[in-house]
Amino acid sequence: MRYGETGYNLEIDLATGNIERVETDPKMMETHLGGLGTSVKLHWDRVPADVKPFDDENMLIISSGVLNATPAFSANRTVVTFYSPESDLLAYPMMGGFFSAELKYAGYDKVIFHNKSPKWVYIWINNDKVEIRDASHLVGRGALETQDLIRMELNQPNAQVAAIGVAGENRCFTASIEQGRSSASRLGGGAIFGDKKIKAVAVRGTQDINLYNGEAFMKEMKDMMAYINFRNTNPIPDVMTILSGIGSPQEMVHTDEKWHTENFMWGNARTRRRGFWDEKINEEWPRTQLEGIKRLISCFNCPQHCGALVAYKDTPRYMAKCFGKLTYAMAAYVDSMDFAWRTLQKATEYGVDSFSTPQILAFAVELIEAGILTEKDLKAGPTWPACPTDKEGRFLWLLDRVAHREGIGEILADGVYLAARQIGNGAEAFDHNTIKRHEQLPLKLGTMDPLYYLMYATNEKISITQIEGNWPQGAFPTMEQREAFVKDWPQLPDDSWKQWLLEWEPRGEKAIPYFPTIDMCCHIVDWMEMLHNIDDACCVCAGMSSFCLKPPYHIHNYPRIISAATGLDLDEASLKKIVNRSRNLHRALNNRRGMSRKDEKPPQDHWKRRFPEIEENLMSAYYTFKGWNQDGVPTKERLNELDLGYVAEDLEKRGLLKDGQD
């Protein structure tokens, strides 16, 4: 009997229509746990390093993790892996919602897609019965609309459906896979769905998931429940509201957006608008936000309210979460929450990432204003009007063109980095906020922060929100505040680290960029990343673990929880080893695709005050700490420690590891 996992994957060859239910090797859980960990292993084993994102061989995996479908609170992520058309690296966007649990109740840990379908299809997984069904009637339909149409067509109100919209159909590089209130958004999973002509995947399951030691597991959850209740009633003081609680950012709950609107950049990550949140806005935006929110909602088995059902005026209903609430209005310089709600609805049905897409549109606006995009790029096309001149109309026109890959949208749909190079004529200079070809959070700050430098530069997710979390974002001004914060902080891997926080000052010698010291930074960043990696293998929401301060899940209770679910005999060291194995395999896989130190750079203007020598030393020290050579490639010694000798051999053959680099 298998515990925690189902022990079966679904392998679907879209070219031939062959569907197989394949029993997995139980050893895989021991070595790579599940979720992202086992998916990375499958990509390494099966997909040649030179496969291009739109090649037939670019396998796409939709995966659950070892804790989905169990009573583990907030274990509801679904991780989608594929070679990204935007970064050309192995991407792993994740969505919350209900899909992964349903997939496991249907009897599968992963759905693995091979090759491409000759015509539009959707997949219907109903326990043991799996069908590839015609989706020609769904082409052109919205991502959310499609989900309900499929449920109605199948007469299966409880089916969970992940679908793409028009943007995915047109292989936009920032196309998302939408599912209820959630989406796997970053790096173009929707484009790979579209390339394979998968309009949607629907799943319904009514089978059991087994727990190895249910009593012990439920005891852990009971303790966690008490802690969740405590944290929900005791927000952390002296930090900004959005960081005070647990869960993903409670953007649907909080209406005071002074911090976001005045500290994040508007436009193409360009302007910080101090004083924006004035009295008028403070009345208008919260009122409009609340007017749109019909109900606060959660993902599977999570007590939080990170999402909302949005029913705003005459706009068709949709569901929203997180920062998408603000990204379109801020990118468009439109001081209207009304515009934000309306645009987000359109973008959700198109199925685009609400972080990167608004930045592409804002980038295009800057090119228009700079005269790089001209009238010929903005004229009417066979089926669309000319670009309006007002801010709102222009932004929505650009969104339409990108989602349909029409006119200038054909180029913009490749993302800022690639579009800038195709457009040329100086457009490259407007690409100032990407790392590894991916649009970053629109944030520009003062002094280089060494913790954030490492996180921005080195994480395989290429997105800061997927590595930061457990360490406070800034030093507390007073010793009293610091002492209060460290007093109750059992999540830390080592109590001695509390001293680091106590000594950390907002200014002076014990402040950034000098403190935390390079050595401390290595430990802190490695710890935060490791937690994200555990979450991603278990498919636990980072909002209840690695992404927030003092979370319910941490390195001290995770081994007990996973052991009780799966029967693995884990302690902290063995759990760390497993996720380090997967993390290094992921890095090696990306190294094999050409990624190295040259790519690991935060945007040049991310901080006003840079410290090149410290930055170089920081990177070198972190690479050494991680067991990587100075090109950012895991050393043979490190790989052997992690039982990845076969990876070292491969990297040696390719000349990525050379003699003497251990």
Partner: protein, 179 residues
Amino acid sequence: MAKIKKKIKTIKVDADKCNGCRGCEIVCSAFHSTPRYSTINPARSRIQIIRHPLKDVWLPIFAGEYTPAECMGREKYVIDGKEYDECTFCRATCPSRDIFKEPDSGLPLKCDMCEDEPPLEQPKCVEWCLNDVLVYEEREEEVEESVEMEKVETGLVSMIDKYGLDKVAEAIARISQKD
């Protein structure tokens, strides 16, 4: 007939607070698995969240009595502008729909308020709902003594409905002979 004191157990449902997480379904199925907490399967849960997210419908419904036949007609409610599907509020395990049936055997499920020895303070779904959607209340009422249909009897009736009296009787006779 003699009067006796009967404990009335009520779960008050404040559906407007439901965030749709389905934690109640999970813990219900875990609690009722054998050995306890060994398996999870919301399809076996005695509480189901009727969900239509875009219609703003998140409605916890508890499994009630088994019925061998459908009602003569069906009801459909519209409340506060929200139209609920046919029979949404009905708790019965009924041939007209799939909910509240064991997914393997089709046998009926019924909420037992998590009766246990020693008794729990409250049913598991209530304990697990962190949004106060479900609130447990107890009170005593004086009622006339009557014989309530036992669980075994309920199961037998549904087996008879499914396979016919003769087959069930034959099976029981056969099992008796083996003993």
